[in-house]
């Protein structure tokens, strides 16, 4: 940003330059100096209540809050000298005096700020020999959130999130002094589509999610970034999965999806729909080929693609464009769409390339968009003009390639079955089991976006490339794999090295 004044200061003997108006905590963080904190959150207004982030500013008699003090030119700061470390120990000692030592059974263990900071800055013997306050251990807050009031350190991140971000204000602090407790008003539970963020931002194990509680331990989780495919926003997400030990049958692979950070897209938050996407990665997935609705053991996807190519080759060249159609979708990545465009439109000369997508839903004033696909802009950019085909259009085809089962969301199942029944050959590439499975000659299992990589262009026109957050399930192919393989089988060179 031009026009913003920059100030230079010295933090722990290091020269740091920061924009005017930045807090000391943020400026230090940007310079790689972590100042411990509980109540401060970059997405919320400053509260200044935990008192963990106190630092020494030379020339001032008392320690100052780094979360609320802006940087000033020429300031000399100390974030880890003995005076500051002693203050941190004091704050930690107070917090721990009224905090249960139940880390072994606490969901937050391993990713708990209180635990981490004690390890870094505490390590003192306990001096609290008085009886601790007893509080409710399992208060349901709504939306599968469970509050343990003994673990709560009253940072009020949750309360402020609901006031400042969603504006729904379901949580408040009741009573005062050490009697202060977070809670809901009677009969007014947390009920908004961003409730899962409360678990993300709780710095301790006070708010946990029923969906994750006691299912695994934080240290077993591999965390990899991806892009949420649930709507047009394309929020940054973190897919947290277990890879360290072999899974037994039915065990979860992806334990949760948490918010990633993307200042231009979603800031620090994601919606509950995005979090529930963890089920899409594990549940109801196709993992082997189906032939006329039945599992085809021994058949692997390259063979299936070769079969499909053979069927396409059987169409007389000049008639091909008139007798074959493809139905794509807006969940496909830019890379997949680009290959599809070149293969189906440019090289095979097809004129009927349609799109079938999830139906739009309601947009909200925060992140959720009406369109429930992640790459509508990518479809346009790839050169398509997306249109839902009528069943009559499809019924006349000789060969039909379907990517995804969303056609079923638009047409009656019986009518769809009738229309597809009159198509010569129907091939379905799908991630999940669906109503079209039994109508297809072949079903080829596809990877979900989290099994990426790929690129999406969100509703704001922002391009985001993501990597592979979880390894693809055995036996599934990515759209890129399938399209390149299909082109090869048709002896068409797409220059795929470029596409990748």
């Amino acid at each position: 940003m031009s026009g913003t004044k920059r100030v230079s200061l010295t933090i722990d003997g290091r020269r740091v330059v920061a924009e005017e108006g930045t807090s000391i905590l943020a400026a230090a963080g940007a310079a790689g100096i972590d100042i411990p904190h509980f109540c401060y959150h970059p997405g919320l207004q400053v509260e200044g209540s935990c008192r963990m982030c106190l630092v020494e500013i030379e020339g001032l008699p008392k320690l100052e809050l780094s979360c609320s003090s802006p940087v000033r030119e020429g300031q000399v700061l100390w974030t880890a000298n003995e005076k500051v470390r002693e203050a941190r120990r004091d704050v930690l000692e107070f917090l721990l005096a009224e905090h249960p030592l139940d880390c072994p059974i606490c969901d937050k263990a391993g990713e708990c700020r209180l635990q981490d900071y004690y390890d870094l800055y505490g390590r003192f013997p306990g001096r609290m020999f008085e009886p601790r306050e007893r509080r409710a251990k399992m208060t349901p807050l709504g939306r599968g959130l469970i509050l343990d009031r003994e673990r709560c350190i009253l940072c009020t991140r949750c309360v402020r999130f609901l006031q400042q971000v969603t504006g729904t204000g379901e949580l408040g602090v009741f009573e005062r002094g050490l009697g202060s407790e977070v809670g809901i008003s009677e009969g007014a539970a947390v009920d908004n589509d961003y409730s899962g963020n409360l678990v993300d931002i709780c710095p301790v194990g006070a708010i946990t999610a029923a969906d994750f509680r006691f299912k695994t331990r934080a240290w077993f989780l591999a965390r990899r970034p991806s892009i949420c495919p649930q709507c047009g926003r394309g929020c940054a997400i973190v897919v947290e999965s277990v890879e360290g030990y072999p899974l037994s049958k039915g065990e979860r692979r992806v334990y949760r999806i948490t918010a990633g950070e993307d200042p231009a897209v979603n800031g620090f938050w994601i919606c509950d729909l995005g979090r529930s996407g963890r089920r899409d990665i594990d549940e109801r997935r196709h993992h082997r080929l189906l032939k006329r609705g039945e599992p085809a053991p021994g058949l692997i996807w390259p063979q299936a693609v070769a079969e499909i190519a053979a069927r396409i080759r059987a169409l007389p060249g000049p008639d091909r464009a008139a007798r074959m159609a493809v139905v794509l979708n807006s969940r496909l990545t830019c890379e997949e769409l680009d290959l599809a465009k070149r293969l189906f439109v440019d090289r095979l000369g097809l004129t009927r390339v349609f799109f079938a997508d999830r139906k739009p839903g309601a947009a909200d004033r925060l992140l959720i968009t009406a369109e429930r696909v992640p790459n509508a802009k990518g479809v346009i950019e790839a050169g398509f003009r997306p249109r839902l085909p009528s069943l009559e259009e499809l019924a006349a085809e000789e060969v039909l390639l379907l990517f995804g089962s969303e056609l079923a969301a638009h047409y009656d199942e019986g009518a769809t079955a009738d229309a597809l029944g009159s198509v010569g050959s129907r091939f379905l590439f799908a991630t999940h089991a669906g109503p079209l499975d039994r109508m297809a000659d072949l079903v080829v299992p596809l990877a979900v976006p989290a099994e990426g990589p790929g690129t999406y262009i969100n509703i704001q026109g922002l391009r985001r490339t993501f990597g592979r957050a979880v390894p693809p399930r055995q036996g599934v192919a990515t759209g890129v794999d399938v399209l390149i393989s299909l082109a090869r089988s048709l002896a068409i060179d797409l220059g795929e090295a470029h596409a990748r």
Partner: protein, 415 residues
């Protein structure tokens, strides 16, 4: 009794009324300021009087007004802190009951000086009767043209709203007062920004104590020099000393700032009752660290008391006799702060209650020197790390009680 800077009057049913107040020359100072002086001249006059805030912090009143941005667009507010909650302090109550017009006149002066059209008087919840009287006084003043859209027929106007608190000590802290006034939990805000720039409803706000404002008519009426010379350099005027505890004549005494604590206790309040001696004195409200009998010659002004390791605070003097066990004093002190901690910041919320738990155990079952060490250590842990002065105000007197009466406490807890 010396010349009465606040014109306090005998307690009867008439003297507080506008008619009587006018007969004593009331509203003349405000009339002079508003009709014959510029706001800058008023600020200057108050600045020269060296009037330090009477609520407890002792911040110079003129300087506080100076932080309000001049000529900025949008509303500005004056908030009167009548949430007199500091234990041992009962002086504002007297002004509000006996001279409410004195406060209103002072508010006119302050509002005119800073350019404020709207004021709130935040009255502590326990002063419900006082709030009724204030409303009556406001009605009288409005009917006489001293309040309302045109004060003294000038373009300057002032509307005053009385707001009753709900009985929380913390709401005497100025930002907690503002939160409460806005209808939220009474909890302090992070400063900066200070109320002078971002205050009530996010607008520039002056928050002044009742006695501070009630001092203004005297300053404007008789001049800054008259006021300043009554006090000591750096701390002008007379002020109201609330004296309670083991004295023969407890009450509120108006005396020059800088009068010695011993003079107040012995000459004015009559000293301890027959057969008792003074063991300790709280000189400035409960948050002020105790003094021992040999320290009573300290002059009662902000700087002298700070030099003596205590503070003038709200000038609430509590005399503790030789018959009162210090362990009991420690207990009521610890209990007060644990009960009144708002709970917002960690050290105060947990530290005050932890100390109370230890003191309660000591009273019930005894203990050893290590328990007293821990109390001091916890007070140190609170000190300097809290969001508002309440934590400091809890830590300092508790630490002082334990360190200054260590021997007595060790004997008291030994079993």
């Amino acid at each position: 009794m010396i010349e009465n800077g606040l014109a306090l009057l005998p307690h009867d049913d008439r003297s507080w009324r506008l008619e009587d107040y006018l007969a004593r020359g009331g509203y003349e100072a405000a009339r002079k300021a508003i009709t014959a002086m510029t706001p800058e001249a008023v600020v200057d006059e108050v600045g020269r009087a060296v009037l330090r805030g009477r609520g407890g912090a002792g911040f110079p009143a003129g300087m506080k007004w100076g932080f309000v941005p001049r000529g900025a667009a949008g509303p500005k507010y004056l908030c009167v802190n009548a949430d007199e909650g500091e234990p041992g302090t009962f002086k504002d109550r007297l002004i509000l009951m006996r001279a409410p017009h004195r406060l209103l006149e002072g508010m006119l002066v302050a509002a005119y000086a800073v350019g404020i059209p709207k004021a709130f008087i935040y009255v502590r919840g326990e002063y419900a009767r006082i709030a009724v009287r204030l409303e009556e006084a406001i009605d009288e003043a409005r009917a006489a043209g001293f309040l309302g859209p045109s004060v003294f027929g000038t373009a300057f106007g002032l509307e005053v709203v009385v707001h009753l608190g709900a009985g929380a000590y913390i709401c005497g802290e100025e930002t907690a007062l503002l939160e409460s006034l806005e209808g939220r939990r009474g909890q302090p805000r992070v400063k900066p920004p200070f109320p002078a720039t971002v205050g009530l409803f996010r607008s520039p706000t002056v928050v002044n104590n009742v006695e501070t404002l009630a001092s203004l008519p005297g300053i404007l009426g008789r001049g800054a020099d008259w006021f300043r010379e009554r006090g000591v350099p750096g701390d002008g005027g007379t002020r109201l000393f609330s004296v309670s505890g083991a004295v023969r004549r407890p009450g509120v005494y108006e005396l020059p700032v800088g009068t010695s604590l011993r003079t107040i206790i012995e000459s004015h309040a009559g000293g301890p009752p027959e057969g008792r001696t003074i063991k300790a004195v709280v000189p400035g409200g409960l948050s002020a660290p105790v003094l021992k009998p040999e320290e009573l010659d300290v002059p009662m002004d902000f700087d002298s008391l700070a030099g003596a390791g205590s503070m003038l605070g709200s000038a609430g003097i509590v005399v503790i006799s030789d018959r009162t066990p210090i362990l009991d004093v420690l207990h009521v002190t610890a209990r007060f702060y644990a009960d009144e901690s708002c709970g917002k910041c960690t050290p105060c919320r947990i530290g005050t209650r932890w100390i109370l738990k230890i003191v309660e155990r000591l009273r019930a079952a005894g203990g050893g020197p290590e328990d007293l060490d821990l109390v001091v250590r916890l007070a140190e842990g609170i000190r300097g790390k809290t969001l508002c002065p309440l934590g400091e105000g809890a830590a300092l007197p508790i630490r002082a009680l334990v360190t200054r009466f260590r021997d007595e406490l060790e004997r008291a807890v030994a079993r």
